[in-house]
Structures are given as structure tokens and as C-alpha cells.
Symmetry: C2
Subunit: 408 residues, 2 copies
């Protein structure tokens, strides 16, 4: 089952949220969408310590309110119920009531406490949830034919063109620890936490405060470093559930394998973040921007995000145009105080700017490089030691097509 | 010549930068672009008190450096020389030298001091100016056949689809005061001063510090409130030249007609700003967003800009989709602390959100409204007295087309 290794971390072939011990998942079509699966769940045999990060959008959707309050009770949940096709956002008291109904109905059928069910929704804003369909779906969702991580992964998608999953394994205290993940996200994606739905499961044993710290640290390096279109959604969240079934000694920052666990969590989060960026609405390419030589990491991140968020950079890359002027322009308006005369830029292996001035470049060669699917841009500010990486995608005709007609 | 009136301010039919007394203008094709005009000037019979605002991009192009330094000497200039097709940005010492050469060559032929010539450039970044062509153009530009505001207006364009001009007249101290303007701008437009080239002329008599204060105040309400694509250019500036030829008593804040003059300047600036937004790359519609009920004007502006800058709002309007969820979403991530439950949104005459909840609306009717060319969105935050207006455009296939192949 193990096929790729990354030092002490093994990437599991076809790994997913059910790779860790004690997790199951499934999905069903309940009728919110016309044909595709639209209701999914993840379940842990035992209550799992759970940490979450949530959108910073002030119009926070009802299920986020319910999920946050539920996790606050004893920092544990045992199941996640997700619907796609309807965001249950801007739906007022009715929306809040509907989110609670989703929670209690699923808790009832699972035979667990209400507050051990996290609920979340993604889709159109401002339309009440079709609760009869969802209740019906909940009645059927645990049936054997609806079980499987693949069904869960499909049930959470909206305009995504494909599922997003990964799992890694690593050894701690002589035990195999697994960390699995699934995500959805294609539009309304911007680095402002939280910009999509991400679900991470692990059988590691870890206390809440450490899990929360780890999630927050990793999120700032991964999920918060992607952008598709600069719009931060009302609904997005990342949850990480740790059920302890691997029976390692409880992970703390003093545990000798703490950094290995963090690295494993980072591999999962970064992979999901990149899968989301690559599947950006209408995208044909994944763009990775490495910023080095910054005075501090906040500055490096802000510059990486400015480049990855620039419509002009994104359209140039779609058009395989080595228009580096748009890259330095984005550096210049990022809000970070830098000396333009020290900035160097490389597109793939080709230096295009050296210390603020154009390099000699073979434009045809750089254009050829840009025809690839994975584009790397390297910006060296040459004014410090800090670095950051951001991921995004190109901006194509299809982005306009998808978003000019998504709802109607 | 006067056809439209706006209270005490008359909009002059076909008015432009040469409507005020003592200003002439012209344009020529010197060969930077293949066919179209690419070198233009504005000239005042006498040195004119001049104030400018400049891009906040740290990669500031060479001509902006030269122009700012020149105006600093005695706050006057007599001529502006503009080339299009090449931005003279990221061109290092050579670029700076070229900008100075443009200045001195034009000053020589005009017979005025070097520092009385402002220079500015717009176009591709990182390519040295073709100085032989520009010098040749300067030799010819004052010939009678190249004179006329229409030629100047054309010579400053890049991806613009049309010229942008206006002039107004008003009476101060029994004298007719004219204020004229021209602008270019289509891409790399974002509310972060300065986002395009704007040239305003007036025959009013006014001292530098008052002129500068007026320009700054007006710019924040007009040029800084438009967005096409969120990218702030390296080159943009707005200059206002006041040559005093109308012979009014010198305008100060104590002058009884001060507010009338400010209003006239605002009409010119707002008109140019809206013409730029409407001519955004690929745009099919002008979008005006009015934000009211804010706690302060900064908050109102930030929310207006967030809506006008949202790719998702812009594509929805292109697709005539009354997807108000994207509007409230942009309000929610604008960074302004507001109470979502008080926010109401109107699209044209149709209320779509009332105090955070969807209104009953006839979707077909709102869709029909969105088929118009001028779209109004009205957001009432219901939490204060401050208001602001922002302008933008929709995001169409043609934006992608233009920008995926602009340079190559």
C-alpha cells in the first residue's frame, strides 16, 4: 500500500480520510443537486479530539456557528456531516435551526451526543436548505452501499472537477500513525482562512491545545497560501480529528517525534491546498511562487499572495506570455516595503529580472516553459532571510464561463 | 458650446484639456506602436501651478521620478509630454536618462526651462524606450498638422477602446473658469492611487498648496474609487495644471467660490474615472456601487472597493446573474467590522437583501435589469451616517483574451 517516501514520511497510495484506524466515511445523493452526490460524512469509532479553523468572513454561515459551538463543549467530535449544493449562508434563524436539525438527526441515527456531530455546507448562498431531502438522505447514508471514502470525497464537491485526497504514514513510539485528508474548493478561494472545506483525520493521540497549535501553524503555511480568485467564502473551514487509536504516547511539543508529526500534517495540508489551487475554476496550470530573501515571513507571504492573486499575472501565464513586468508590478503593490533595486525573478530555470533590471532571456524558451502544467516562479528580494511559498492557478476563459452562469 | 448644466456647473460639449484659456495639445505617431498615435503633449502659454498624485507601487517608473522632482522645484510646469506603448519602467539608469532626455528635448523645442516639462509613459514594462523614434517625434509634434486635443487624447491610449475627455465651466468673480481633462486607462487599474494617467487643465488662478489639497481630496473620491482588475501600475499619475488665465481672484479655502471650484474639479475627475472603469479591459458594463450607513467614510470606501474588485461579482454581472450572495460575501471579507444582520442590498430598483436576509425578488426582473449597460448596486449597512461610491466593470471573456496576449 505504501508507494512513495519522503524521508520518514510515507505517502499512502490512494490514501484518504479512512486510512487512519477507526475512521469510516460515505456519501449519498439526497437531491440538493440534480444528479451528483451531495451529502457526505466522516465517522470515528470513538470521540476524537478536534481542532478547527474557520472563515474570517463576517457573513459566517450557520453550520460554522453550530460546529464551533459544538467543538467548544469538550474539544471532541465523532462525526462530520457535509452537504454540497447549498451553503446555508445568509439564511438567518431558519438556517441556524436547519444546521442544528442536521446535527441532531445525524447524531440520533449514529447514537451519539448531538454536539459530537460537526455540520458544514457549501454551495449557493441565501437559499434555505431543502431539509426534507437532507433528512431523507441522513436516513439512508449509513447503508453499506453508500459507504466509502470515494463517495464522501465526491459528495463534498461543487464546481470542482475532481476529488482531492491524500494520506501519509509515519512511525511514532513504534506505532504507525496515519494522517488522511479530503478537501473541496474551486472558486471563492483566497488566502484569508478559511477558503475551502478541508477534513483531516488521524489516529494519533494528541491533546487539544497541541492539535490546535499544530493546525494553526500548518494552515498559515498551506491553506492560507492559496488563491483562486481573491474571494473569501462565508462557509469555509478545516477540521482535524485525532482519535488516538494508534496508541502512541500523547503527542506534546516535548515529544521527540513532535516535529515529525507536524511535518506529516504539513504534507497532507500542503497536498490538499495544491490540489485545490490546481483545480481552481477554469484553471489549466498550477502556479507555485517561492519568495526568498524577505526581512520577515509575513512580508514573504504577502508578496507571494500578491503575485498569485494578480489577474494580470494569471492571464499572462494562461497565455504562456513571459510578461515578468506584471510579476514585479505585483511585488511593488503588495504593501511590503522592499527595495525594488534588489529584486530578482526567475521563471522556472530562466532568470528574467536581476536586481530590478531585465535579464537577457530567450523569450521563446521561457514561453515554452510556460506551456507546462506546473509553473514555478522564484522571487529573491535579497534583503533578508525569510521565505514563503504560495500556490495559485491561471485565469482562463473558463473561469469567466463558470462564474457567469454558476447559479442560474 | 454649453449644452448640459449641473446646478452652477456647465458641462461643455466636446470639452477637453484645451477648453481652458491658454492650453493647446497635440499628438503624433513616432513609431513606438505599429500604427496608432503614441506621443502626445499638453502646453500652456504660461507656466502653470501644477499638483500631482503618483502611483504607490514601489516599482515607480522613471518618468514619474523625473516629473515629481521637476514639479518640486517651483510647483510649476508648462508642458506635459506623454508616450504610450512603452512604460519606461524597470529600465534602471538608462530609463532615468531617457526620461530626462525626453524632458530636455521637448523643453528645447518649446524654448522653456527643462523642469517645466513633465514626462510620463505607459505601456510595456522592462523594455528600453526607442529614443531615436521619440526624438524624431518631438521634432515633428508641434507642427500644425499634429495639433488638436483629439490627437493628444488618442496618443495616450494603450488597450483603451476609446478616448476619455470632459470639460466643465463655472463662474467665479464674474469670470468664466474652465476645467478640462483627458485620461487613459483600461488595465492595471485598482483603487490605490494612481491607477491610470489623468491630465486636468484649468485657467483658474490658484496657489499650489490649495491646488494640491483639492487634487488629493478629489482623487480619493474619484480616481481612487475605481477598479478594473486589482493591479496597481508602476506608472500612473494625475496632474492638474492651473495657469491663472481666467484672472479670477486667487482661489483659497476662504474664497466664497472655493466649494464651487472643488465641485467642478470633482465633476471632471469623476467623469474621467467612470470613463476609465467603463472602458475596463473587456468590459461590457459600468458598475456603480453606493455604500451608505457606514460608521466612517474609510469603511464605506473599503466595502465599495471590495465589491467592485470581486471577480465573482464581476463575472455574475457579466452573466446577468442576480447572485447577491457574492455581494454580501465581499462585504463580509472587506476587512471592515460591520454587523451582517443589518446589511441591506439593492440591485437597481430591486431589493435583494434586507437586514442580512434574502428579500422576495422576481429573479427574472432583476436579471433583465442586469442586461443594461449601467448597473447600480446600493448597499446600506444601517450602522452609521458615512457613505462612498465606487466604480468598476464586469469581467468578461475578453478580459482574459486581452491579457493572455497583450505583450506578445
Amino acid at each position: 500500500m505504501q508507494v512513495m517516501t519522503n524521508g520518514n514520511i510515507t505517502i499512502v497510495k490512494d490514501g484518504n480520510v479512512t486510512t487512519p484506524i477507526g475512521f469510516t466515511a460515505g456519501g449519498v445523493h439526497c437531491g440538493i443537486k440534480r444528479k451528483r452526490l451531495d451529502l457526505g460524512y466522516v465517522y470515528s469509532d470513538v470521540p476524537a479530539t478536534t481542532a478547527g479553523v474557520y472563515t474570517t468572513n463576517l457573513f459566517q454561515a450557520a453550520p460554522l456557528v453550530v460546529t464551533q459551538k459544538s467543538i467548544e463543549i469538550d474539544q471532541k467530535i465523532q462525526a462530520i456531516l457535509v452537504n454540497s449544493g447549498n451553503a446555508n449562508a445568509c439564511t438567518g434563524d431558519q438556517g441556524l435551526q436547519d444546521a442544528y436539525t442536521m446535527q441532531t438527526e445525524f447524531a440520533k441515527i449514529l447514537g451519539i451526543k448531538d454536539h459530537y456531530v460537526a455540520v458544514t455546507s457549501t454551495g449557493v448562498i441565501g437559499v434555505p436548505l431543502p431539509m426534507e431531502k437532507i433528512k431523507e438522505g441522513i436516513q439512508q447514508i449509513l447503508q453499506e452501499e453508500h459507504s466509502g471514502a470515494d463517495l464522501f470525497q465526491k459528495a463534498i464537491l461543487t464546481t470542482d472537477t475532481g476529488i482531492k485526497n491524500i494520506a501519509v504514514q509515519l512511525e511514532i513510539d513504534g506505532k504507525i500513525i496515519s494522517i488522511g485528508g479530503a478537501a473541496k474548493g474551486s472558486g471563492m478561494i483566497h488566502p484569508n482562512m478559511a477558503t475551502m472545506l478541508g477534513f483531516i483525520t488521524t489516529d494519533a493521540k494528541i491533546d487539544y491545545s497541541e492539535l490546535w497549535d499544530a493546525l494553526k501553524q500548518i494552515t498559515n503555511q498551506t491553506f492560507n497560501m492559496i488563491s483562486v480568485d481573491g474571494d473569501s467564502s462565508t462557509n469555509d473551514m478545516v477540521l482535524v480529528m485525532a482519535n488516538g487509536k494508534a496508541e502512541n504516547k500523547t503527542l506534546t511539543k516535548e515529544h521527540p517525534s513532535w516535529s515529525l508529526f507536524i511535518e506529516g500534517l504539513k504534507v497532507v495540508s500542503e497536498s490538499l491546498a495544491k490540489q485545490i489551487a490546481r483545480d481552481g475554476e477554469g484553471a489549466t496550470k498550477l502556479i507555485e511562487v517561492n519568495v526568498a530573501g524577505a526581512e520577515n515571513v509575513e512580508g514573504a507571504r504577502a508578496i507571494g499572495k500578491a503575485i498569485i492573486s494578480s489577474n494580470l499575472v494569471k492571464t499572462a501565464i494562461y497565455g504562456t506570455d513571459p510578461n515578468w513586468g506584471r510579476i514585479v508590478c505585483a511585488v511593488g503593490y503588495s504593501g511590503v516595503l522592499i527595495d525594488p533595486n534588489r529584486v530578482s525573478v526567475t521563471i522556472g530555470p530562466y532568470q528574467v529580472v536581476e536586481k530590478g533590471l531585465p535579464s537577457q532571456m530567450d523569450e521563446a524558451e521561457v514561453k515554452k516553459y510556460l506551456e507546462q502544467e506546473n509553473i514555478h516562479i522564484y522571487v529573491d528580494l535579497n534583503q533578508g532571510e525569510a521565505a514563503a511559498t504560495a500556490w495559485g492557478c491561471d485565469l482562463s476563459y473558463d473561469y469567466v464561463k463558470i462564474n457567469a452562469s454558476y447559479r442560474t
